[in-house]
Symmetry: C2
Subunit: 291 residues, 2 copies
C-alpha cells in the first residue's frame, strides 16, 4: 500500500509555482493576485480562506480578503463582485461558500467574470470543462486528477466509482475521469444517496473516489484487493484537540488501507492538493499559461 501523500506533492507543486513566480518577477512581470470574499464568520470558511491566503504568500502571490458581515445584502455583494471584476490588479477571486440563506448563490457566481472565476463554478467554466475545452476546473477535482497523475496511476480503461454527485466534487471529477485524457479514459460510475447495491458496485471498482461527507462510510468489505482509494471527505468531528475537532474522511482507513494499492489519507491527501489547484488557476488567470 502506497500513501497518496497530497501534502508532499502539494509542496512540490508549490515550489514549482514559486519558481515561476520568482522568474516572472525577475523579468519585471506582475505577480498574480488572488482575492477572496468572506461573508459572515463561519469557522470553517475562516479556516479555508486563511489557508488560501497562506498558500498565496508561500508561492509569492499577492492576496486580499474582502470581509462582509453576514447581514450583507445581495445587491451589495454583487457590487463587491463587480468591483473585483473591474480591478485589474486582481487576477482571480473566489466567493467563499456557503453564503447566508438570503443570498442567491447562483446569482453571485454568475456575476463573476468567467476569466477571473478561479473556483471554476461559473456555468461557462462548468460547460467548457464538460466539453473538454480549456476552462478553470474546480480545485478539488483538479487536485484529485493531479494527485493521480503525479503518482503515475494508470486510469485508462479502469472502472472508477465516484461516491457523491455534488457540483463541487463528484460530478466534475466523474466528468474529468471519463474524458479522453491522461489521467482519464476511465469507465465512470456515479453513485449517490439513491444508489442500490452500492457495495457490489464498489467491489468492482479499480478506483474509488469517496466524496459524500459521511465519516468512515467506505468500509473494508466494499473494496477489492488492489483498488486505488481517494478520500475527499473532510467532516469536522468533535475531538480532544486544541481546535476541539478533527477532520474525518469518508473512508474507514484502518479497514480499507491494507487492501489498497494506493490510498489518500485525511488529512494530508486531497485537501492540500485542492489549494494548489486554486493557485494554479490563479497563475493561469494572470499569465494565460497553464498552471
Amino acid at each position: 500500500m502506497i500513501l497518496l501523500d497530497g501534502k508532499k506533492v502539494a509542496g512540490e507543486v508549490k515550489a514549482e509555482i514559486a519558481g515561476r513566480v520568482a522568474q516572472r518577477s525577475a523579468r519585471g512581470g506582475r505577480v498574480p493576485q488572488l482575492a477572496a470574499v468572506l461573508v459572515g464568520d463561519d469557522g470553517a470558511s475562516e479556516t479555508y480562506v486563511s489557508h488560501k491566503a497562506r498558500a498565496c504568500s508561500e508561492v509569492g502571490f499577492l492576496s486580499q480578503v474582502v470581509r462582509l458581515p453576514d447581514t450583507v445584502g445581495e445587491r451589495e455583494l454583487l457590487c463587491t463582485v463587480a468591483a473585483l471584476n473591474a480591478d485589474a490588479a486582481v487576477d482571480g477571486f473566489i466567493v467563499q461558500l456557503p453564503l447566508p440563506a438570503h443570498i442567491n448563490e447562483h446569482r453571485i457566481i454568475e456575476a463573476i467574470n468567467p476569466a477571473k472565476d478561479v473556483d471554476g463554478f461559473h456555468p461557462v467554466n462548468v460547460g467548457r470543462m464538460m466539453l473538454g475545452l480549456p476552462a478553470f476546473v474546480p480545485a478539488t477535482p483538479a487536485g484529485i486528477i493531479e494527485l493521480l497523475g503525479r503518482y503515475g496511476i494508470e486510469t485508462s480503461g479502469r472502472h472508477c466509482v465516484v461516491l457523491g454527485r455534488s457540483h463541487i466534487v463528484g460530478r466534475p471529477v466523474a466528468n474529468l475521469l471519463s474524458q479522453k485524457a491522461r489521467p482519464g479514459d476511465c469507465t465512470v460510475t456515479l453513485c449517490h444517496s439513491r444508489t442500490q447495491r452500492l457495495k457490489e458496485l464498489c467491489r468492482q471498482a479499480d478506483i474509488i473516489i469517496a466524496a459524500i461527507g459521511a465519516p468512515g462510510f467506505l468500509r473494508g468489505d466494499m473494496v477489492r484487493e488492489g483498488a486505488v482509494v481517494v478520500d475527499v471527505g473532510t467532516t469536522r468531528v468533535p475531538a480532544a484537540t486544541r481546535s476541539g475537532f478533527r477532520l474525518a474522511g469518508d473512508v474507514c482507513f484502518d479497514e480499507v488501507a491494507p487492501l489498497c494499492s494506493y490510498i489518500s489519507p485525511v488529512p494530508g491527501g486531497v485537501g492540500p492538493m485542492t489549494i494548489v489547484s486554486l493557485l494554479k488557476n490563479t497563475w493561469t488567470a494572470c499569465t494565460g499559461e497553464n498552471g
Copy 2:
C-alpha cells in the same frame, strides 16, 4: 416487451405544442420562429434541417433556413450568427453540424446568444444543465428523458449504463439521469471505446442507452432479462430503398427486444423525440414558458 414508440409520443407532444401555439396566436401573440443555418450540401444535414422545418410547420411555428456554400469563411458565418442573434423575429436558431473543416465549430457555437441556443450546445447552457439550473438541454438527451417519462418508467435508484461519451448524447444524458429529478436519480455508468468488461457492465444494467453509432453493437448476450433499452444509433447503411440507405440502430433488435421490458426502435424511437425537444426549446425561447 413494450415498444417505446417515439413516433406516437412525438405526435402527441406536437399536438400539445400546436394547441398552445394556436391559443397564443388567438390571443394576438407572436408565433415562435426557428432558424437553421445550413452550410454546404451534406445529404444527412439537408434531411435533418428539412425535418426540422416540417416539424415547425406542423405545430404552427415559423421557420427559415439560411443556406451558405461550404466555401463560406468563418468570419462570414460569424456575421450570419450575429445577424440571427440580433433578429428579434427569430426566437431560436441552430447551426447544423458538422461544419466544414476550415471552420472552428466551438467558435461558432460560442458566438450564439445562449438565450437563442435551442440546440443547447453553448457552454453556458451545458454548464447550467450540469448544475441543474434552467437551461436549453440538447434535443436528443431531452427527447430520451421525455420518452422515459411519458412511459412512466421508474428510474430512481436504477442502474443506467450509457454507451458513448459524446457531447451531444452520451455525456448530457448521463448527467441528466444522475440528477435529483424525475426521470433521474439513476446510478449512471458512462462507457466508451476504452471500457473494459463492457458485456459484464451492460448485463448489470436496468437501463441501457446505446449511443455509439455502431450498427447492431448491443447483442442479446449483453442484456439482462427485463432491461429497458434505448437505441440512439442512426447510422445510414446501404439498402435497396428509394434513398439507397436505411437507418440502423446500435441495438441488434431481434436478439435484444425479446429480453426487454421496454425498447425503442430505430427508426421511430428517439429520432422523432429529438425533433420535438427542439420545438419545445424554441417554444421556451419565445415565451419563457417550459416547452
